[in-house]
């Protein structure tokens, strides 16, 4: 047992836990904010250090997972606290840390209780990405989902009770499928363990994969807005406070996608292959469907929520293509969409807090009034419609090239349909940009609005930096991603 490994990874859970404890001692929002800023900075630094250490360690070791450690937690059911990271989870941790950092600065006006739930949520998210034990993963997964109900229900806007209830119930329902699936894996694999790395080498009989794979894929896929299980997301995002939308769209959806990859695909590749046609169809439908729905929306948050359905559909679509190029695209899209969606929701929150409306037809000419926020929104929009030089392009091209490696008409047609979404994306992005930022100010109340405050700038610029960095230098991350995919490649 390597104490260094244990502490390195566990600190991703321990730091937010400590933040939680310290928050209890805080008396006012100002102190709470300080705790959050310090804590999230530590997390961000940890994630960066981890990435560097990972790259260095990878040069000398070719074990599938690095920084592994394992503690027995409940022996009768073989539940362990086992942790470790590969390239993909390292990047997911980095992404999470960046989004959490940005979200803290976007929640500048929030109070202590809000931050308590916020911390609980990030414990779950970080814990999920470091775990390699199915049960621990599931536990952290639930830890991340439950605070959402309160964050939306209490601090939300609009029809928040309905949205919170819908979000919680749909995701809990999906978790029920997931739990069944996990038990299925545990009993049918014959391995007396829940460790994902061990389970990879056990062959689950194909007969059982036929029912377990859909359970797991739909279970995790619901969180990644798999069509037709996506409707929690538009209402949920529209009602949630902006930082929560950031965390949810940027971070929690990636839990779903990561789960699909790590559990559903890695453990049941044959099942995935056999059933891929169903899920490719669903995912491709989601891609086009989400984009078309976004065209019709008039609320900024609904536009981006449906856009997120479309982009996350692309992640699932790519995962189900089951080849390395598309998978790499999927992971890049997870990073790209994470940063981009967080950026969008952050800016929308900032605009909303100034104009008190998110309706397209109630705003115009904001470029003159709040140029900084407008420009950031437009750049995020460009990233979303896949402009080269920004992260979306890199991810989408990997996905499309990967999908085109299949030579059958069925996948070709769906791929072409999915590529069609990039045109529709351009339509709804430019439509919104044209309406709210260009033109002249029509609403008298919007003539004098403060542009971004310093904390708004911190929050948006760090996300923007990520989007641009991936867009300009994809080779920085693609090597790390390929490392994570090598295990998977051996299995096919």
């Amino acid at each position: 047992m390597n104490i260094f490994h244990l502490t390195l990874l566990s600190s991703f859970v321990v730091v937010p836990l400590l933040m939680l404890v310290v928050l209890f001692l805080c008396r006012n929002a100002r102190q709470a904010r300080t705790v959050m800023v310090i804590g999230s900075s530590i997390l961000l630094m940890l994630a960066m250090v981890l990435t560097l250490l990972f790259v260095r360690e990878r040069a000398v070791s070719n074990a599938p997972m690095l920084f592994v450690s394992d503690l027995v937690w409940y022996a009768p059911l073989n539940i362990h606290y086992s942790i470790g990271v590969d390239g993909i989870s390292t990047l997911m941790l980095l992404l999470s840390a960046i989004i959490v950092f940005a979200a803290v600065f976007s929640s500048w006006q929030m109070n202590r209780d809000y931050f308590l739930w916020f911390c609980l949520l990030i414990i779950g998210a970080f814990g999920f990405f470091i775990s390699t034990d199915l049960f621990t993963m599931f536990m952290f997964y639930e830890t991340a989902l439950i605070p959402m109900y309160l964050l939306v229900g209490i601090w939300g806007t609009g029809k928040k009770e309905y949205a919170a209830m819908k979000l919680a119930l749909m995701l809990m329902g999906a978790s029920a499928l997931l739990l069944m699936g996990i038990l299925g894996i545990y009993y049918t694999s014959g391995a007396k363990t829940m460790n994902v790395q061990t389970l990879i080498d056990m062959n689950i009989p194909l007969m059982h994969q036929y029912w377990i794979f859909p359970l797991i894929f739909i279970g995790f896929g619901t969180l990644c807005a798999l069509f037709p299980f996506h409707t929690w997301s538009p209402d949920g995002y529209a009602s949630a406070p902006s930082a929560v939308s950031m965390l949810h769209a940027g971070l929690l959806k990636k839990l779903g996608a990561y789960g699909c990859f790590r559990v559903a695909i890695c453990l049941m590749p044959q099942g995935a292959h056999e059933l891929s046609w169903i899920f490719i169809t669903l995912a491709a439908t989601g891609v086009v469907y989400g984009a078309f729905c976004a065209v019709r929306q008039t609320d900024l948050k609904y536009i981006n929520a449906y856009s997120s359905v479309s982009h996350c559909g692309l992640i699932l679509f790519a995962i189900m293509m089951l080849n390395e190029t598309a998978m790499k695209g999927a992971v890049l899209q997870m990073l790209s969409h994470g940063l981009m969606a967080a950026l969008f929701f952050a800016v929308i929150g900032m605009i909303y807090s100034r104009t008190h409306t998110r309706q397209l037809n109630e705003m115009s000419g904001l470029m003159k009034v709040i140029p900084f926020l407008s420009i950031i929104y437009i750049i995020a929009g460009f990233a979303s419609l896949g402009l080269p030089g920004l992260s979306g392009f890199v991810a989408e091209m990997n996905i499309f090239v990967g999908a085109f490696e299949h030579d059958d008409i069925f996948r070709r047609v769906l791929t072409i349909a999915a590529t069609g979404s990039i045109v529709i994306t351009a339509v709804y992005i430019l439509q919104a940009v044209g309406k709210i930022f260009y033109g002249s100010v029509t609403n008298e109340k919007h003539r004098q609005l403060p542009d971004a405050f310093w904390y708004d700038k911190v929050s948006t610029l760090i996300l923007l930096a990520g989007v641009i960095l991936i867009g300009l230098a994809p080779f920085l991350v693609s090597g790390i991603i390929e490392d994570g995919l090598s295990v998977f490649q051996l299995r096919i």
Binding site: M170, V295, R296, L385, P388, V394, T419, L430, G439, S478
Partner: protein, 634 residues
């Protein structure tokens, strides 16, 4: 060859500096920085061209393709990867010269034209971004790099068309331009995916090597719906080119793009970006001619149709910029047609197309710059509000006249030489297209001189302010371009650019040259008769062909057809029902339905938990009885 890299990096640097720090420095300094950078780039490009064409490029009588820089930017899988690099061959070097020269003239011109505009720094930042992207596009080593910069020029064009972002027309035009070209780019993307699936490479050099043997071997024997995979791929790629180069029916964005500042129209929508489609087909020419000759022939017909179609519309336009825009569409279609009639053995069409691209860039840019000067002076785009401007603006008049003569194809101006070569190529390969092109030549001369006479001749209007002379920067740029227009036709073009890198001698075929000149002269004469003095003859003729005239003035209703297609069909029949489906069926019926069902069931069975002891006792007794009987009987 390090200057090739430097000449790309200078505009990029200008963009970054002006983009990030533009608002902190004064407009004047920002403008001068951008202009200086661009002029430096132009000098470097000329130096590079001299070195390439006269020193380095040629070995054993053939111009080689050089790749001085290339690095792997993104790896997809084993053999597929996107490289970013610089690929020099005769056409790309020629394009570098054209782009940087026109761009630097436009930069200089804009110093005067855009003076005092809000967002002057932003304007120069976007111009630098555009120039960088365009340069990146022409030096692309592979088709994916071209796609990357293709999108970047698209977005720069979007930003510049929408420069006056408070004007609703400009916002709509910029959106339209972006979405229409994006739609076409979808074809490009799918074509690239298809091509790379079969050939396992994006690289231009590999694709075109040995008469495109790679594509011929891998993609011509697979067929789908009667066409080979190569034809599908190259056809789809052509769709992308047709979008950028405004071929029918994807041309609708270009006339609207005239909402942008006039220098932008001159640079992007006349001289450089809109010829990207022609350039792309030229670069992939061996692939087209060996692996997809059917597509190449199709390109010829599309080009000829577009040339005729746009020329007809140009006759009926009253907005000077829109008339020029249709003229651009028509001339680019001319280049496309020339490529369509070229073959690997008879490369006249290929050389002619590139030659026309070269000469057209200068005279069309100049025409737009003149239009800008006129608009500046008169304060309107409408030619009805202009007249007798010869008196007020002698230099603009001279420049406009020179470029009109050039575009009409009157010797010794540049357009004559390139047009003549195109006509020769068409005559040798396809007589039908030759006839169409000849008619277009006549129409071109006619509509250009219609503009000329209506603007510069005739009666003077009652101008509110007497039209003033342009500032010196604008006059300098126009004068410099006018000189280019005069001399660019004399360049022995076929010495440098040939379909296989070799030099050719071209001879002017007297018969065809005479036919071209006669067509042009008759167009001019008719225009002079109708428009030289404001007699009502033109209006009478327009009235006689009322229906045709109205249709041409309304651009043959192609925009309306597109609007019907997008608004009614895509939005009305696809997006709206889907959004409704999401709200009502998925959300309303399934999700909320599940919620309601749960409530209903709970409501139904909650009566069982009534709390009444009698009811429980009743259930208990009868339950026991029922079970006992059941056990006894079964």
């Amino acid at each position: 060859m390090s200057i090739s890299l430097l000449l790309l990096l200078v505009p990029l640097l200008c963009f970054v500096v002006l983009g990030l720090a533009g608002h902190k420095i004064s407009a004047r300094i920002a403008g001068l920085t951008g202009t200086a950078g661009m002029c430096l780039s132009a000098i470097l490009a000329c130096g590079l061209a001299c070195r390439y064409f006269f020193v380095d490029g040629k070995s054993e009588g053939v111009y080689r393709s050089l790749t001085p820089y290339s690095f792997e930017w993104l790896r997809f899988s084993g053999s597929l990867h996107i490289d970013l690099g610089i690929f020099l061959h005769p056409v790309s070097v020629m394009m570098l010269v054209v782009i940087t020269l026109v761009s630097s003239m436009v930069h200089i011109y804009s110093l005067g034209y855009m003076r005092g505009e809000k967002g002057f720094q932003r304007y120069y930042a976007f111009l630098s971004l555009f120039t960088f992207s365009m340069l990146g596009l022409v030096v692309a080593t592979n088709i994916f790099q071209m796609y990357i910069f293709w999108e970047l020029v698209g977005v720069s064009s979007y930003l510049l068309i929408g420069f006056y972002y408070t004007r609703p027309a400009a916002i709509a035009a910029s959106k339209k331009a972006f979405i229409v070209t994006r739609f076409a780019d979808l074809g490009f993307l799918v074509g690239v995916l298809l091509l790379s699936f079969h050939t396992k490479t994006f690289d231009f050099a590999e694709l075109t090597a040995h008469n495109a043997a790679l594509v011929v071997d891998s993609a011509t024997n697979v067929s789908f719906m009667g066409l080979s995979a190569a034809s599908w791929a190259m056809g789809l790629i052509f769709v992308g080119g047709a979008g950028k180069s405004a071929m029918f029916p994807l041309h609708v964005w270009l006339p609207d793009a005239m909402e942008g500042p006039t220098p932008v129209s001159s640079l992007i929508h006349a001289a450089t970006m809109v010829v990207a489609g022609v350039y792309m087909i030229a670069v992939l020419f061996p692939v087209y001619s060996f692996a997809a000759p059917d597509v190449l022939a199709f390109i010829g017909y599309v080009g000829a149709f577009t040339a005729l179609f746009a020329a007809l519309i140009a006759i009926a336009q009253t907005d000077v910029k829109r008339a020029l825009a249709f003229s651009t569409i028509s001339q680019i279609a001319y280049m496309m047609t020339a490529l369509g009639v070229a073959t690997q053995t008879d490369g006249t069409g290929y050389t002619a197309s590139m030659f026309h691209l070269f000469t057209h860039a200068f005279f069309k840019a100049l025409l737009f710059l003149c239009a800008g000067a006129l608009i500046h002076a008169v304060g309107s785009n409408d030619i009805g509000k202009m007249g007798n401007l010869r008196k007020y603006m002698p230099l603009t008049h001279l420049a406009f006249l020179i470029s009109c003569l050039a575009i009409a194809g009157i010797p010794p101006f540049s357009g004559f030489f390139s047009k003549d070569e195109i006509l020769t190529a068409a005559f040798n390969n396809n007589r039908l297209l030759f006839v169409v092109l000849l008619i277009v030549a006549l129409l071109t001369a006619f509509y250009m001189f219609r503009l000329y006479y209506r603007i510069f001749a005739g009666n003077s209007r009652n101008y509110e302010h007497p039209p003033h002379k342009s500032p010196p920067t604008m006059r300098f740029a126009m004068a410099a371009l006018a000189i280019f227009v005069c001399v660019s036709g004399l360049v022995p073009f076929s010495q440098f650019i040939g379909v296989d890198g070799t030099s050719h001698e071209t001879h002017i075929n007297p018969a065809i040259a005479a036919a071209g000149v006669v067509a042009a002269l008759s167009g001019i004469v008719v225009a002079a008769l109708l428009y030289r003095n404001s007699s009502g003859r033109a209006a009478q003729i327009a009235a006689r062909f009322n229906r045709l005239h109205t249709m041409a003035a309304n651009k043959f209703y192609i925009d309306e057809i597109w609007i019907f297609f997008t608004k009614t069909f895509v939005f009305g029949f696809v997006a709206r029902p889907l959004a409704w489906f999401d709200k009502t069926v998925i959300d309303g019926v399934i999700i909320n339905g599940a919620g309601r069902a749960t409530e209903k069931i709970a409501h139904l069975i909650k009566g069982l938990q009534s709390g009444q002891i009698q009811f429980y006792a009743f259930i208990f007794v009868f339950g026991t009885l029922f079970i006992t009987i059941w056990i006894l009987l079964v």
